[in-house]
Symmetry: C3
Subunit: 444 residues, 3 copies
C-alpha cells in the first residue's frame, strides 16, 4: 500500500519534458518489426530501465506464425533524369514502405507510380505503409508531389536487406510481493511516428521507472515488442506462465490533445476494465470507454479465444480517428509535454488503484463498531471532520465482509477511490479492518 501518493512527488512540467526528450531521441530512428532500428531503440530505453533483450531467430514458429526475415535499410531514393533525389529516405524514413525488398534499377514512370502511395485526402502528408508479410517494395510521398513526377524514367534504389536474422524485443520484470502479474505492453515497430507509438514507448518507460521505485503488491512486466508478431511470440514463449497475469494494459497514442479512450478487454468486466473506468471517471474530464472489438492493437492477441486475458488498451484519440494517424502529420509537433505528463499520471493512477484494490473484512461485523470511543465519530458541535470521510468509513465497514473489494465499495458508494482507501487505512490502524486472508486478486 506504500505505493499511494507517489504521484504527488512528480512534477508534471518536469516529467512531461523528460518524456518528450526521450521521444525526440527516438524519433529519427527507422524502426520496423525487426532490425537494427529496434535494437537501437531498446538500447536507448535501456538507459532508463534495465531491459532484458530477446533475439528470436527468423524462421522460428510461433503458433500460426513464423518469425520473418530481419529487415535493415541504409538508404533509398528515387532520382529523376537530372540525377536529383526527388524522393529521399534520408529526409523521412516514412518515404520507404517498411520491409521493402532491395531495388536498384532504372524504370519507367508508370512502373514507379504503381509502387507509390499517397493520401489523396491529405495531400500534405506522407503516409506510413508496410509490407511485413509479403515481399514487395514501395515509396510513400505527399499526394501534392505526385504531379511533379513527370520524367519518363527514374533511377530507383532501395538499399535494404531482408535476410535471416532475428526479431528483437525488450522485457523488464519487477517482482512484487506476490507473483500475480500486471503486464504493460507497447509496440516498438513504427518508424518516425510520435503518437503511434513513441508516446506509448516513452510513457511506458517512465511508468516502469516509477513502479520500480515503488513498493509493490503485484509483479510488473513491461514489454516493448513489435506489434502482432511480438505479442504472439511473447505469448508463445511464456504460455505456461500466463496464469499469473491478472491484468494487462496496452499503451499507445498518449500524446495528442484528445480526451482519454479506454478499450475494454474481451471479458469486459475484469479488474483492469473496472479500474480504468473509475480512474478516468475520477479525472473529471470527458473520456470514452469502448467495448472490446477484435481489431486495433495487440489486445487482439492477448484477448484471442485461446488466451482471453484481461487486456485493455489506453489511448487518447483512437487509432484512425485523427487525420495525422499513420502519416508524417504524426510528428513531434503533434504531441505535447503536458499531454504526456497527464498520460503518465493517469497510468500511475491506474496502477495505484490496482494496488489498492484489496478485500478486507470488518473485525466487528455485528452492528457498527462504536466509532466515538475511537475518535472516528463526528460528535455534537465538532465539524472539522468532513462528512465524506465519515461516509467512507461507514461504507468500508458495511461492505467489508471479505467479498467486496475497495473497487466494489467505490462503485457502490459513488465515493472517490482515494477517500475509500484512506478510510480503509484509518480502520486498519484502529484494528477495525483486516486484509482478507484469501485475497486472490484474480477474483477481485
Amino acid at each position: 500500500m506504500t505505493i499511494t501518493n507517489l504521484t504527488t512527488t512528480i512534477d508534471p512540467n518536469a516529467i512531461g519534458e523528460q518524456i518528450y526528450s526521450l521521444m525526440k531521441e527516438l524519433f529519427p530512428i527507422c524502426r520496423s518489426i525487426t532490425g537494427n532500428g529496434v535494437r537501437e531503440t531498446l538500447k536507448i530505453i535501456g538507459k532508463h530501465i534495465p531491459l532484458e533483450i530477446h533475439e528470436v531467430p527468423s524462421g522460428t514458429e510461433v503458433f500460426d506464425w513464423t518469425i520473418p526475415k530481419e529487415w535493415n535499410i541504409r538508404d533509398a531514393y528515387v532520382k529523376d533524369s537530372k540525377g536529383a533525389r526527388v524522393i529521399d529516405f534520408k529526409q523521412s524514413n516514412l518515404h520507404v514502405v517498411s520491409y521493402s525488398v532491395p531495388v536498384n534499377k532504372k524504370m519507367a514512370r508508370e512502373e514507379l507510380l504503381s509502387h507509390i502511395f499517397t493520401i489523396p485526402e491529405e495531400p500534405e502528408l506522407i503516409p506510413f505503409r508496410n509490407s511485413f508479410y509479403k515481399e514487395d517494395w514501395g515509396f510513400c510521398i505527399e499526394h501534392k508531389r505526385l504531379c511533379d513526377l513527370n520524367d519518363h524514367e527514374y533511377d530507383v534504389c532501395i538499399d535494404s536487406t531482408l535476410e535471416d536474422g532475428f526479431m528483437t524485443f525488450g522485457e523488464f520484470f519487477l517482482q512484487g510481493r506476490t507473483d500475480d502479474e500486471i503486464v504493460i505492453f507497447t509496440h516498438t515497430c513504427h518508424p518516425s511516428l510520435c503518437n503511434d507509438n513513441l508516446t506509448g514507448i516513452s510513457v511506458a518507460t517512465f511508468l516502469a521507472e516509477w513502479v520500480r521505485a515503488s513498493s509493490r503488491h503485484y509483479s510488473y512486466r513491461f514489454l516493448f515488442c513489435p506489434t502482432t508478431i511480438g505479442s504472439i511470440t511473447w505469448l508463445a514463449l511464456n504460455e505456461p506462465q500466463l496464469y499469473k497475469v491478472k491484468s494487462g494494459l496496452i499503451l499507445t497514442g498518449l500524446g495528442d490533445s484528445g480526451g482519454f479512450t479506454y478499450k475494454k478487454s474481451r471479458k469486459g468486466d475484469s479488474m483492469i476494465d473496472r479500474t480504468v473506468a473509475q480512474v478516468l471517471c475520477a479525472l473529471g474530464k470527458p473520456f470514452e470507454i469502448y467495448e472490446f472489438s477484435p481489431f486495433g492493437y495487440d489486445e487482439r492477441q492477448f484477448c484471442s479465444p485461446g488466451f482471453n486475458l484481461p487486456f485493455g488498451c489506453l489511448m487518447r484519440t483512437p487509432n484512425g480517428k485523427y487525420p495525422e494517424y499513420h502519416s508524417s502529420g504524426d510528428g513531434l509537433g503533434f504531441i505535447s509535454q503536458k499531454n504526456l505528463a497527464e498520460s503518465l499520471k493517469t497510468c500511475i493512477n491506474i496502477i495505484e488503484s490496482l494496488e489498492n484494490n484489496r478485500c478486507y473484512f470488518n473485525t466487528n461485523p455485528k452492528g457498527e463498531p462504536q466509532l466515538g470511543r475511537r475518535g472516528l465519530f463526528r460528535a455534537a458541535g465538532r465539524k472539522h471532520q468532513p462528512p465524506e470521510e465519515q461516509f467512507a468509513i461507514l461504507w468500508v465497514l458495511n461492505l467489508s465482509d471479505g467479498f467486496h473489494s475497495i473497487l466494489d465499495i467505490v462503485e457502490r458508494s459513488g465515493l472517490k477511490l482515494e477517500l475509500v482507501k484512506r478510510a480503509a487505512d484509518i480502520l486498519i490502524t484502529c484494528g477495525l479492518l483486516q486484509e482478507s486472508p484469501d485475497n486472490d486478486t484474480s477474483k477481485i
Copy 2:
C-alpha cells in the same frame, strides 16, 4: 448450411400472387374448430404439401379438455314476414355464430334480437362470433341493418348439425439431419376471414414447400389445427416427443399493411426470440417486439407452465389492434400480395437464421491466425475487399471458442448475420473454423 440464399431464387411478385390465389380458393369455405370446412381446407393445402390428416373422435379427453361434437352447417337464414331472407348464411358465413345449434321456428322480434350480434362502433361490418364450448345459436349482422328488423315475427332457420364426430387437423413433417425440431403452427378454425387466419395458413403452406426443397439441419413440423383445442390435442398426443422441439413459431395476421410484430415466448430469451429479433432488425423497417403474455394465440398453450416451450408468434398488426379484426372487414381486400410475399420472405429469413446458428471453434485460437498468407488480409494498397468482411472474419475468429454461436457473434459485433455467416464459411474453407462437436442446439 446449403439452405442459404434460396430466398434470392424467389420472385416476390410471383410468390405473392400464388399465396393470394391459395387464399382466394380457401376464402369461401365455412371453417370452424371441427367439421367439413376444415377437411376441405386441409385437402386444398394437401395439393401443395403432403399433409397427414388426423381425425380425433368427439369425447376424447385431452388434458383438461374434451374434443367437442363435430359441427356442420348447410344453410341458415332469417326470413321476414314477406318471406324475404333478411339474413342469409349464403351471402356470408360470418352471419351465423360458429357452432350454432340447429334452429327452425318462427319467433318474435324480441327473441330474435337477443340472438343477434353487431359491432356498434363499426356499423358497416359483420362481426365474427362463436360459441364453441357452450350450446347456443346466433346471427351476426352489420349494426346499420339492425334498424331494418321491424317485423313482429321472423322465420329463423339454422340448418346445422352438432353431433359426435371428429376434430380434424393436418400435420406435415420434414426430417432434417438431426431430430431437433422446429414447429410452425397456424390455426385453421376461422371462416371467411383473411388476415386472421388465411394468411397464416397460406404463408405456412408456401414456407413448408420452401423448407421441403431445402437441405435441413433441423427437422420441421407444420401444424394446421383449430386454435386452443387443436394445439392442446397435439400436445397431448405428442407429449413424449416434446423434448425434441427446440423452437416454435405461430403464424397469423401476415397480410395487412402494418409492420411486423413478434411476441416473445414465455422464456423470453430463447433462440427463436433472439433470432426473430435479429431478422426483424436487419429488415430495416419499423417493427415491434412484445413481451410474452398469456393471451393471444396458441403460444398460450405451448408456453403453459407444464410445457414452457420456446414458442413465439409472428404477425403484422396484432390481433385486436385493427378495426377489421374478427369481422367482415377482414376480407380479400384487406390484405395484399406484396405483404404476403414479404411475410413469407421474413419467415424464410428466420428459418435460414435458425439453420445457420451454429457454434464453431477457432482451430488456431492462440493469437490471431496469419490471415495474410491465406489471402484473407487486406494488405497495403489493396482496397477491393470491403472492411466489413474483414471485421466479420476477425469477430468470428475471436468469439468462436465453441460456446458462442453465430447469433451471439451477430449480437455482440453488430454486424449483419449474412456477413457473419459468410465469414464463417470462408474460415471453414480455410480450415480455420470447425463446427463445435457438442453443437447442441438447445443450448445455442
Copy 3:
C-alpha cells in the same frame, strides 16, 4: 390470507385522530436513550398493546458497545444576573443537550457560550443535541436569542443524574402460523420531536393493534428501542433466533406532508424491498426509492455485514431533508392526522402484500385449463366480467409453476396486486391452484 381487505374497515379520519392523540400524550415526555422518559413512553404504548419491557443493566457489553449509564433529569436552567430563567428546561426539554452531566455553578458568559448550541440558518428554532457517549453538557436555544445573553455571569444548573441503571426497551411479539418473522422497529430515544420519531412510535403501535386483530401467516415482532444501542442490544440478545427474520422495516418520519420514501436494504432485492416498491407504486402518488447506504436509522445495524438482514426504512421526507429536522420546528404542528392515517394504511398494505405473497402451482399446467366450463371465461356477448380479471386469471395460471410468487406475477404482468390476489383466490376455489408445498418465504 384472511388478512386481506381489513384496511377497508379502517376509518381514515378516526384512525388519524387516534394516532395523533397518542402522539400528543407522548410529546411532553423527555425521552433519551435511557431513563424514566423511555419507561413512561413504553407504559403509555402499553395501554394499546401488551408490551414486554426489557431492562438491560449499565455496563452490559453488547458486541462492540457497552450499555451506558442511565440518564435522568428533573430540571435545568440558566439564570441571568437578575435571577430570571433565560433558558428553562421546563419550557422545552430540547433546551438541554440530552445526556448532559449535572452542573450547578455560576460561570462567566464566555464559558456558558461555549456550551450553547444554535442553528444560525434557522434562528427561530431550538436544535436537538445529544452527547450520549461522551460526558459533556450543554444548552440549545434559538439562534436569535443568542444576542440577548449579555450579562457577564450566569447561574447555570442542570439537575440531572448519570448513574448506573438500565437501558429500557419494549417488545411485542405476535405468533403467526409460521415462525418466520417480520420485524417492525421504531426508535424511542428522541425527546419532544414529533416526526422524528413520535410518528414512528405511534404508527407502529396502531399497526401492531391491527396485526394483532388479523389472522397471520408470519409472526410479527414490534420493537420500541433507543436508536443504535437499542437495535445493537436486541441483536446481541437475539442472535441465535435471527434466522427466523424474513423481513424488517424501520418506521420513522411518517407524519410530514412529503411523499413516501423507502430506503432499500443492503441486499437491495429482498422481499421487503420488492414489496414496498409495489405498494408505493400502486398508491399512484409520487414516491422515492433510495438505494441502501450505511447511514440513517437502525437499518445500519440490522444491515451490518455480520447480519445483513433484509431491513428497509419507510419514511416520508427523509431525515435531514427538511429544515425542521431535529429541532423545535418538529412539533405537533408539523404533522397531520391525514398523513398519519395514510402512513398507517401504507404500512398495512405492505403487511398485506407480504402476507399474500405466496407461491402456487397450477394443478392443470399442461395447456390452459378449460375456464369456460368453470364459469371463468368471458364468453361471446357477455361483457360484465372485466377483462383485467380475465388477464389476472391467465397470468396466475401461466406463471404458477411453484417458483413464481404472487409478487413475481405482479411485477411481470404489471397488474395490481389485489387483482392478482383475487384471481389466485378464485383459482384456489376452483381447484385450479394450490399452495406450493415448499413455500419457504425466505426464497420468495
